[in-house]
Structures are given as structure tokens and as C-alpha cells.
């Protein structure tokens, strides 16, 4: 028979254990937001809120964040902006977004103009661009398109990619009649020959090529000169949200890292492309776009020296091309603590190889 003292002691221990387990949960419940407002500059065909190519797109399609926060009753609000990065910046300036993924140029413009944000993980860092022309066009290179109507999506990472591409060829936007169009409008315009060329992601052009209405005359992925000029995207949290809910930010990064590791496994390659194909861009277009490009490298979440150096280089390029006023200190913008903790807690500390500023594996 158990004595009353022992029973009391046992109850006290149990109560203590329960308190130690429940206290963080209670604290989380007290501090936890009711909703996490996510922003993505990705919209699929027919205005569907689905994108591809980015790790955050995979997370959205798989509903991984919903699963992570379901038990806490925290709602995930997805905002897929048709106006891409610039519209996302507008929403952030008006304090309507907590965590978001964004591409090179709008991310830099937002930071340079004073948006208080922190980069918490890398997203796609091997983005490539291509030039598409109507199927019967005589143009074979960018030089053949001088003075012609060329569509780009201004204010997005595409504009910076285009600027860098032109610099490599000794050209500038003034050599063309530039028309600002979002990606879906631009592909339609190319199909109807309302524009003479379109500079965008290869995966947006291949479906047109398959339909016989356009052809790709240049693909950055096959251009050795562009090997170090890849576009990149990153995941960012607003400072307000990060300060108020660091534990929520940590769990978001945990999810991102797990999904990036899943995508890195080559046996999941087809499954990943199938997920992205839900955006309306065909599986085959993504397959061709990423031919020869491993997703372990492309979707590495590491905030390594290469990533930071690329941002700093893109800041300089943006300033040179007069796409941004002000400056950005890339190293100060990056906050590695959430990523480091996520890699450690998921046993992925040595899963990805960090790259040095030159893009070589760091010894």
C-alpha cells in the first residue's frame, strides 16, 4: 500500500512534469498568432494560387505549414500576388504580410527602401532565364531583336536577370522597345505576336514551343557565361513578426528545411515536378527547364557565402542598372539562427555543402 506522503510526492512530481510540458505550450498559445500571413509572388495558369520552381511553392502545394500548425489552431493565409514581387512589397509596406518568399530585385528594392525584414532561408538559387520568339521569327540571337518589342515583367527578378544578360552582351534596355507585362499576359502576347520576344523563365516558354507558336532562342542554363549569374529567391520574415513570434518563425524554417531535403532526393524528382505542374505549367516544361540541374543544389536553403555574395553582387548590379535607390548590406540582412537550429533539429547539419563566394564547395 502506498503511503499518503508518497502519494502526495508522486502527485507533486506529476504536476511538475505536467507543468513543465504544458508551460511552453501555454506560452506558445498565449503568444501564438491566430493567423500567419504568407506572401508568394507566384500565380498559376487561370489565376490559380499555385506556383512552381520554388521550395515555398512546394510547401504551399503539399500543405506542410497547415499540418505543422494545425494542432495549435493557427491558420495559414496564403496570398499569391498576381503583381509578383512589386505587389508583395506594396503589401509588406502596408503591414499585411508576415513571412514571404521573394526574388532578387524586388527583395533588394524593398530592403533598400526601408522595409524592415530578415532573410531566414534561401529558396531557389539556380534560377535561369530564356528568350522566346514567335515560331516564324527570323531572330536567332538578342542582337537580332534590337529595336524590336521585347516583353519583360518590370520590377521582378526577371528585370534584373535581363539587365545582367544585356550587360554580358554589351547592350541596354534602350536598345529595345521594352514592354512591361506580367508573365501570363506576356506569354499570351508572344503567342499572338503582339510582342517580338519575351524574356522569362524557360518553363514559361516551353509550353509555347510545344504548341508550335514560339521557339526558345536562348537559355541561360546552357550558357557557360551565365553560370555565375543565376537568379535567386529567398524566404524573408518581417522584423515585427520575427520579434513577436520567434518560435513560429523557427517552426516555419523547420518545415522549409524538411521540404528542401525531400526535394533534394533525386528519387523524388518526378514527384516534385508533378507537384509544380499543378500550377498549370506542364510537367515536361519543368523537366526541360531543370535538365541537368540537381534540386539539392538548386533548392539548398543554406545562407552560405555564395548566397550572400550573390545578393551583394545583385545589389551592385541593380544600382548600376539604376533599378534601385539606396543600398543593402547583404550580410546584415541575413539571420542564420533559425536555419542553423532547423538543420540541427532535423539532423541535416551536413546534408548540404556550403559554397564559398565563388560558388565552390567550402572546405
Amino acid at each position: 500500500m502506498i503511503s499518503r506522503t508518497r502519494l502526495l510526492t508522486r502527485r507533486l512530481i506529476l504536476a511538475g512534469l505536467a507543468a513543465s510540458v504544458l508551460a511552453p505550450i501555454a506560452a506558445l498559445a498565449a503568444d501564438a498568432p491566430k493567423v500567419i500571413r504568407i506572401g508568394l509572388p507566384l500565380v498559376g495558369t487561370g489565376n490559380r494560387p499555385v506556383g512552381g520552381s520554388w521550395n515555398f511553392a512546394t510547401v504551399q502545394i503539399k500543405g506542410s505549414l497547415e499540418q505543422e500548425f494545425k494542432a495549435d489552431g493557427i491558420r495559414i493565409e496564403w496570398n499569391n500576388f498576381k503583381g509578383a514581387g512589386p505587389a508583395l512589397n506594396e503589401a509588406i509596406a502596408n503591414k499585411l504580410i508576415d513571412v514571404f518568399a521573394i526574388g532578387d530585385l524586388p527583395g533588394i528594392v524593398g530592403k533598400a527602401s526601408g522595409l524592415k525584414t530578415k532573410i531566414i532561408a534561401a529558396d531557389n538559387r539556380r534560377y535561369a532565364y530564356a528568350i522566346g520568339v514567335p515560331a516564324d521569327s527570323q531572330a536567332r540571337s538578342i542582337e537580332d531583336l534590337k529595336g524590336k518589342k521585347l516583353a519583360i515583367f518590370k520590377g521582378t527578378a526577371i528585370q534584373l536577370g535581363f539587365g545582367k544578360f544585356l550587360s554580358r552582351h554589351g547592350l541596354s534596355e534602350k536598345d529595345f522597345k521594352i514592354i512591361n507585362m506580367d508573365s501570363n499576359t506576356a506569354t499570351a502576347a508572344l503567342a499572338t505576336k503582339d510582342v517580338d520576344a519575351l524574356f522569362t523563365a524557360p518553363s514559361a516558354l516551353y509550353p509555347l514551343e510545344d504548341r508550335g507558336v514560339a521557339k526558345v532562342i536562348y537559355n541561360e542554363r546552357h550558357d557557360p557565361a551565365a553560370a555565375n549569374d543565376r537568379g535567386q529567391a529567398y524566404v524573408v520574415a518581417t522584423e515585427d513578426f520575427e520579434k513577436a513570434h520567434p518560435e513560429v518563425v523557427q517552426r516555419i524554417v523547420n518545415v522549409l528545411v524538411r521540404e528542401a531535403a525531400w526535394s533534394a532526393d533525386e528519387k523524388n524528382r518526378s514527384a516534385l515536378l508533378q507537384l509544380w505542374a499543378k500550377s498549370g505549367t506542364p510537367f515536361s516544361a519543368y523537366r526541360r527547364d531543370y535538365e541537368g540541374q540537381g534540386f539539392k543544389e538548386a533548392l539548398s536553403p543554406l545562407l552560405d557565402e555564395e548566397f550572400v555574395a550573390n545578393i551583394q553582387r545583385n545589389v551592385s548590379e541593380s544600382q548600376k542598372l539604376k533599378l534601385v535607390r539606396g543600398s543593402v548590406d547583404a550580410a546584415g540582412w541575413v539571420d542564420r539562427k533559425y536555419l542553423d537550429a532547423a538543420l540541427k533539429s532535423n539532423g541535416l547539419t551536413n546534408f548540404w555543402t556550403p559554397l564559398d563566394a565563388g560558388g565552390k564547395p567550402k572546405k
Binding site: 499569391n80 527602401s113 533599378l323
Partner: protein, 479 residues
């Protein structure tokens, strides 16, 4: 190796082996030797054949039965696709013939309906004949306005965007004591974009010819971004400075030195301008004199990035100089032409989530007194102040936010409380004749083209020393 090939090889070998001895008959020993040699040769060939077979990749027995290559479309596939295409073409043609509104050029049909309930503590009474009399009305259901519009493109310039556009709009509003609310022609005009419109970085210039709104001040041309109230400001109405009435004429509108922040998709020209000539006597009429009235406006917006506290801070100045016919004998006798001048100054700071606007307007009208034979002309000066403050709760006015990819018919619900002060003094020389309106209101934006509006107006008439309180509740919806 296929049997037929083997037979051919054997036949060739036999011919080779026996071809020469056929000329001289061989003996039995020789024949046996040759047969042995032949057998050796066949064995050698068989071993070579086996080696070749071993080197080839093995194919599973079921491989041939796995079916046709899935990357190659069969004739049945193409027939199926063709049938689908034919069905689609037929359906499209049939729908076009029987269920589609057609026009010779691009056409956009739009409409606005205001369904309203109004109540006042000052009962409305009118005299007049029995059909139109109003007897002690304190409240009423009304259609505040019903508008239907058509606009589109008469010529589309694919190269530079120097398009030729048209606008046609009809509308009606409630009539006091009568049910004759016929649709009136409101806008009917052509607009040509003189400067290219394809680049946001360049200034723009267009010219509009026909019946249109005057580019005077803020209130007259304000969209719901800057005008939260149901009623227009007092100075715009026909009884006062009469600036909201459409006029027929030719007006240029443009902007220069645009500040474009592509990182936020934000364009704000530093200079916005308009100038033109109009008849000056209102819509749907020929001019009533030979003088054309001049209207002009310039507005300056401070250059800034989107994420700056200076965003959308602008100052404007407007002028209208014209002539109007003047009468004596209660409008029965035309005696002369007098000035009809308006001057205005305005500022707007529309910085989501709040906005402030202020507008000062002054009018100078000449009028005649006396008789037709002996009259004199005098000037009456009038003055108006209109100020508005509003606060947005929600994302209705964040342009990029509301354009999202969504599966459902999503729209960000928004609430906009506001306050407006409106004062009009019809004659600054006369004492106690001004009207003041304080309006407290709330707008609820609940769908893309629909909103609910609630306005409480407190109006003070200095001339009669009376104050009235009105409530207006209105659903405005459009398509």
C-alpha cells in the same frame, strides 16, 4: 537470327562448297572431307552468331506485348482530339450566333446602381398639383443613381499605345415628386492618346472631345479613393458653383516627370495638368452664347518612393473662366453676358491606411438687376471649403494586394469610417447665408464592385437658422 536468314546463309555456303567441284565429279573421300569442313564452318558461324546475341541487351518476353509507345499518338488518339475540336468549334459558333452580344469594336459594358434609404427630421412638403405633391415625407426608398456605360477602343495602336477610345454613359437619378426618371446622356466622348502609353516612364498626353467631366479640383473628378461620401460637396451642385455638371468641349489631359517605383509597381507623375475649352452651359445642349469657357488645372505630387511617408501628397490649383447669359425680370429678359469664373486650390494626402483632403473654391458670377431697359451688372462672390478625413481598416485600397490568385470569388473586406466638413457661402457680401454640412459615415466594401454606405448629415442653414439631420443608407453595386 531469323530462320529465313539462316536458310539463305546455308544455301550460300552449300553453293560455295559445291560450286567448284561441280565442274569435275569428286570422289567419296573428298566429299566427306568437304562435308566435315562445311560442318566446321557452320559450327563456327553458329558460335559467332551466339556471341552477337549475347552482346545484345536482353528483351523480356512480354516487352513486345507492353503496348505502343506512350509518347506516340495513335490514329485513334488524333481522331478523338479532332472530334473534341470539332465539337468545341460547333459549340463556340453556335453560342456566338445565339447567345453572344456582338459589337463592331471592342466593348466593355458597365453599370452602377445605388439602392438607398433616406430619412430626415425635416419633413418634405411641396405644393403644386396633386400628382407631384409631397406631403410630409420624412423618409423614402430611392435609387440614388443608375448608370450604364459603354466604353472601348476604336483604334488600337499596337506599336506605341496611341489608342483612340470612346465612352458613352447614360444615367438617371431620383426626381422630386415625379416618376419621370428617364435615362439621360451623361458622357459621350472620344479620347485620343497623343503620346505613347506603353511605357510608365514617359509622360502622357491625351485629348478628349465631347461631353465630359470638367478637370476642376478634386471633388468633381474624385473616385472612391478620395471621396467617401454619398453626396457631392455643396459647391459642385447646379444651385451653387455648378462644377459637377458635364460640359461639351475639347480638353487635354496629361502628366509629366513620372516617378516610377517598379519595385512597388507605383507610378506618380510630379506634374499633372489639364486644359481645354467648353461651351459652359451644361450637357446635351448647344452653346447659349458665342463665348467658350476655359478650364485649366495643374497638380504637383511630391516625388517619392512608394515606401515613403511623402507618398501621394499632392497640391493642385484650378481655374475656370467663362461667360454666362444674364437676365432680369426673374430670368424672363436676357440683357447681357457676365463673367462666370471659378478658382480653386486643393491638397490631398492619401496615404493608406488614412487620407486627408481639403479643397477651397471661389466663384465670381456677374448678375443683372433692374429692367431690360435699365439694368446694371454686379458681381457676386461665393466661397466653399470642403475637408475630409478617412481611415481604412482592410485592404480595399492596396492595389497590389487585392489582385491575388485565388480559387474563390475573394475580395478583401474593408471598413472605412470618415468625417467630412462642407461649407458653402453663396454670397460673401451677404450675412448669414452659408450652409454647413457635417457628415459622419462608414463605408463597408464587401465584394469587388459593391459597398454599403451609411452617412449621417447634419446640415445648418444660417439663413433660416435651422439645423436638419439626415440619414442615408445605401448599397452601391456595379458590374
Amino acid at each position: 537470327m531469323k530462320p529465313r536468314h539462316r536458310q539463305r546463309i546455308l544455301a550460300a555456303l552449300i553453293l560455295t562448297a559445291f560450286g567448284t567441284p561441280a565442274l569435275a565429279a569428286p570422289n567419296t573421300v573428298e566429299l566427306e572431307k568437304q562435308l566435315k569442313a562445311l560442318q566446321e564452318y557452320v559450327r563456327s558461324l553458329q558460335s559467332q552468331l551466339q556471341a552477337v546475341k549475347d552482346a545484345q541487351p536482353t528483351t523480356t518476353p512480354g516487352a513486345a506485348a507492353a503496348g505502343p509507345d506512350e509518347n506516340v499518338a495513335s490514329k485513334d488518339d488524333i481522331n478523338g482530339l479532332q472530334a473534341d475540336l470539332e465539337n468545341f468549334k460547333y459549340q463556340l459558333q453556335r453560342d456566338r450566333d445565339t447567345r453572344t452580344a456582338l459589337s463592331a469594336r471592342a466593348l466593355n459594358v458597365s453599370g452602377v446602381i445605388q439602392a438607398r434609404y433616406g430619412a430626415t427630421d425635416a419633413a418634405v412638403n411641396t405644393g403644386g398639383n396633386s400628382a407631384n405633391a409631397v406631403n410630409g415625407r420624412n423618409n423614402s426608398f430611392d435609387l440614388g443613381a443608375v448608370l450604364i456605360g459603354f466604353n472601348g477602343n476604336l483604334y488600337k495602336d499596337y506599336e506605341d499605345g496611341r489608342n483612340l477610345d470612346y465612352t458613352l454613359r447614360f444615367g438617371t437619378s431620383p426626381q422630386q415628386g415625379t416618376n419621370n426618371s428617364f435615362l439621360n446622356l451623361i458622357d459621350a466622348n472620344l479620347t485620343y492618346h497623343i503620346l505613347p502609353t506603353i511605357s510608365a516612364d514617359a509622360g502622357r498626353l491625351s485629348v478628349t472631345f465631347g461631353q465630359q467631366l470638367l478637370p476642376f479640383g478634386q471633388e468633381v473628378q474624385a473616385t472612391e479613393d478620395l471621396k467617401p461620401t454619398i453626396n457631392n460637396a455643396l459647391f459642385t451642385s447646379p444651385g451653387s458653383l455648378d462644377l459637377a455638371r458635364r460640359q461639351v468641349g475639347l480638353i487635354f489631359r496629361g502628366d509629366a516627370f513620372p516617378v516610377v517605383d517598379y519595385g512597388y509597381n507605383y507610378r506618380a507623375p510630379i506634374l499633372t495638368y489639364a486644359f481645354g475649352l467648353v461651351n459652359g452651359n451644361g450637357p446635351n445642349k448647344s452653346d447659349d452664347n458665342n463665348n467658350k469657357d476655359l478650364v485649366g488645372r495643374v497638380a504637383l505630387t511630391l516625388p517619392s518612393d512608394y515606401n515613403s511617408w511623402l507618398r501621394q501628397l499632392s497640391f493642385g490649383a484650378s481655374i475656370y473662366r467663362g461667360k454666362q447669359n444674364v437676365f432680369v425680370n426673374s430670368g424672363a429678359d436676357l440683357v447681357d453676358k457676365g463673367k462666370k469664373d471659378r478658382f480653386g486650390f486643393d491638397l490631398a494626402y492619401n496615404h493608406h491606411p488614412f487620407g486627408v483632403t481639403y479643397e477651397y473654391t471661389e466663384g465670381r458670377d456677374e448678375y443683372a438687376t433692374g429692367t431690360k431697359a435699365a439694368y446694371s451688372v454686379a458681381e457676386r462672390k461665393s466661397r466653399a471649403h470642403t475637408g475630409t478625413f478617412f481611415y481604412n481598416i482592410g485592404e480595399q485600397f492596396v492595389k497590389g494586394y487585392r489582385a491575388q490568385g485565388r480559387y474563390d470569388d475573394w475580395w478583401p473586406k474593408s471598413y472605412q469610417p470618415f468625417y467630412r466638413y462642407d461649407r458653402f457661402d453663396p454670397n460673401t457680401a451677404a450675412l448669414r447665408d452659408e450652409i454647413k454640412v457635417h457628415t459622419l459615415g462608414l463605408n463597408v466594401f464587401f465584394a469587388e464592385t459593391s459597398k454599403f454606405q451609411l452617412n449621417l448629415n447634419r446640415t445648418t442653414f444660417a439663413a433660416t437658422d435651422k439645423t436638419t439631420n439626415d440619414l442615408l443608407a445605401q448599397f452601391q453595386f456595379g458590374f
